[in-house]
Symmetry: C2
């Protein structure tokens, strides 16, 4: 069984609620929306991602015989019979993957029979939360180092298998050049990058023979890790080796630094390589990097051509979660509002409208009711699933990536840096505010 | 395909190195060790977890025909033929799951032909890192609230499917009472807990009918969420409903609070329930909890009987990664040492010895060479796999959990709190220090 597609990958309370909805005939249409309550500290925007995986999950939602057997010892037969037929046949509106978005804007809206829209909550959040988290983090490295090779190196400290795979996908979507994670390459057609580990060097009696062995095995991809013992001494060995390999038509593509003062080493190594005739060889850096260290290295004009970004990317180290929620906004045609302290939501089925300045920059959004509340601007939520089926085959990841990166050009200058920009203007429409007030007044009774 | 068991869930460089090892006949026995370089800030110890999943992975490691077909377009036929036969037939020593451990102590040691020990690096780290991260985090809540019901609520913001499942497992191993994640219950036989979401309340015309519907659907598990609108007003409704349900033999098991000042609400709700004759009904709290908030709530004597701990647990919010490494320590019988700046390792195949004080408390560890370097104390690394097969069927999770919790009794008082204790004494044996010096001297040449 592949746990990623199991409907039992959910919270127990979803099943308890489902049974009760069934018992009491509560199967009218419900509208749930997924949104983020606030920006992570120091961030200026977020990037929506994960829709493709959510639609896959919804289209294939089905209890297997084994799952039903497990449930049968815990739930009554009539409920098991109901689950046997259970499918998702609702509608979904969503922001396209790669869309820049802000707090309190729904990025996904599910309209379906209440039990269906309820059951999927846990997994829909689990998927959209994580990919959005990673795409939002990755975008910052892309903005800081737009012309550099950026590779996801995070698998080993990603939180499990799916996190590694989806981090590779979400970072590529957000503009990374590729990933080291092979399975992500096979599943999502993401370019793969790889060099060698320190263990490869250590397993050899000396560094030069390690370099030469690698070069002869991979003559088209000779990138050598040079920090195992003494970085500059290793760079000199690379120069010597390059002369030897030249005779066999093998050229050194680059070197990798993974420890120490990367800027200082890069400068010295660049000099050694250049002096040795290896002006074409690139310098790739890795080791505890994040967008802040990339910014510092590039600001110091360190001669580095590419970066492997690992743990900080795959766990979104500065903000390893988003304060997201999936909330019931309408049931049986009536808008609903949660009023829990500090967690009140805007009720009703909504749309997000975006305006642009004359120079094409994001100029302000309006969150409005989806019906009878027209606003100027681009409507960001579009239909993506109808009656449980995708409306269109999903765009290839490469295309989504191009659109995402093109979208960064619409960020105002102040928002496209690591500095905190003034809050982006997001207005709640008058009709939506009035609805919230009206519901509060009704519920006071 | 289940991505969790795919050998392509690895970094590309592992395959590049493998091919080169093959090309150059480097298939002697390598010893790799996995350890953590330093404690997360503010932590006193870590708890090893994830060995079961690592052994599963190693025992079943095999390239499928589809995986080989994908690789065939990128690697030469002879290497593909080699991968077709590829299995893991090495030996593994490890600390038992649930063992308390400290920086620079190997928790896993793999001895296998170099290509085997190399290929598995990425996934072995991915699994052991994450479960150890979560068990180490969960232990803190267990120490703070040893007599309370503690439930993992973190699936929705866990980093993907496997993170949700393994967080449920690792937190249960570390002493949690159970999880809300259904699939974790089915896979690992973990007790499941669940109540209802705010959407359940909101979908009903009024709160009382929501409570009554739930009670009638789940008469044995009536735990009612009372913070959707007004917590104390809802508690009063629960009291009234309890009288009505009594006639039908249904009793209220408890209530759940999920927002606001939990201590203040718990006190007021306790009074309302007690005054209404519901002294037996428990109060369960959730909402952005972690070990620090648990400690604060319990210190204030808030009348709370159980806690749902979500995001902070499943992402290990204060430290979402551990600085762990999987390093080559010996190849072809010769010890190896990485000397990269700030990342030097202790060479050779090692053992960890633990001593206890007369009152049974951890009193100090020695990291020594595994051979010819005898030390007093308990040897923590034990053989768990030989020639690619588990030595013993793994202990049931329940038993591991009992052992783990029993292990906390051996923590010195200062280490069993949320305050930072003085560093635990971990000594490097004289023989190990001498070996490191000797290797450094040799490598200077």
């Amino acid at each position: 069984m592949n746990p990623q597609s199991s409907p039992l990958l959910t919270d127990l309370y979803q099943l308890l609620m489902l049974q009760s909805y069934r018992d009491h005939g509560m199967e009218d249409t419900a509208v749930f929306e997924l949104f983020v309550r606030k920006l992570p500290p120091g961030r200026n925007f977020m990037v929506a991602a994960g829709l493709e995986q959510v639609l896959d999950f919804l289209e294939n939602l089905k209890f297997s015989p084994e799952e039903l057997a497990w449930l049968a010892s815990r739930f009554p037969p009539a409920f098991i019979a109901y689950l046997e037929q259970f499918r998702f046949d609702g509608d979904v509106h969503a922001m396209a993957e790669g869309t820049i978005f802000f707090p309190n804007q729904p990025i996904l809206q599910i309209s379906a029979a209440l039990p269906q829209a309820q059951l999927v909550e846990s997994r829909v959040m689990n998927l959209l939360h994580f990919e959005t988290l990673i795409a939002s983090k990755a975008a910052r490295s892309v903005l800081v180092a737009p012309d550099k090779l950026l590779v996801d190196f995070g698998m080993r400290r990603a939180h499990g298998a799916e996190a590694a795979l989806l981090a590779a996908r979400a970072s590529y979507l957000a503009g990374f050049s590729g990933s080291a994670t092979v399975l992500a390459g096979t599943l999502y057609d993401i370019p793969l990058f790889g060099t060698m580990a320190h263990s490869y060097i250590q397993a050899h009696a000396d560094e030069t023979s390690a370099f030469e062995h690698f070069a002869r095995s991979h003559p088209d991809n000779v990138i050598l890790l040079i920090d195992t013992y003494d970085t500059e001494a290793a760079a000199a060995k690379v120069v010597t080796l390059a002369r030897k390999l030249q005779a066999d038509g093998i050229s050194i593509k680059g070197v990798r630094l993974d420890s120490g003062d990367l800027a200082a080493h890069a400068r010295q190594v660049r000099q050694i390589l250049d002096a040795g005739g290896l002006q074409q060889a690139t310098i790739f850096a890795s080791g505890n990097l994040d967008e802040y260290r990339l910014h510092a290295l590039l600001s110091s004009a360190a001669p580095i051509d590419g970066f492997g970004v690992g743990t900080a990317l795959d766990i979104s180290s500065d903000s390893p979660s988003l304060d997201c929620a999936y909330k019931l906004q309408e049931y049986a045609g009536k808008p609903r509002r949660k009023r829990s302290e500090g967690k009140a939501t805007w009720p009703g089925r909504k749309q997000v409208y975006r305006s642009y300045s004359v120079d094409g920059c994001l100029a302000g959004d309006v969150v409005a009711l989806a019906e009878n509340d027209p606003q100027a601007g681009e409507a960001l939520l579009q239909p993506v699933m109808r009656a449980g089926r995708r409306i269109a085959a999903h765009a290839p990841l490469q295309q989504l990536r191009r659109q995402t990166v093109a979208g960064y050009a619409h960020l105002p200058h102040t928002m496209a840096t690591l500095d905190t920009a003034p809050a982006y203007p997001v207005t709640i429409s008058a009709a939506l505010q009035a609805l919230a007030q009206q519901l509060d007044a009704e519920q006071v009774k």
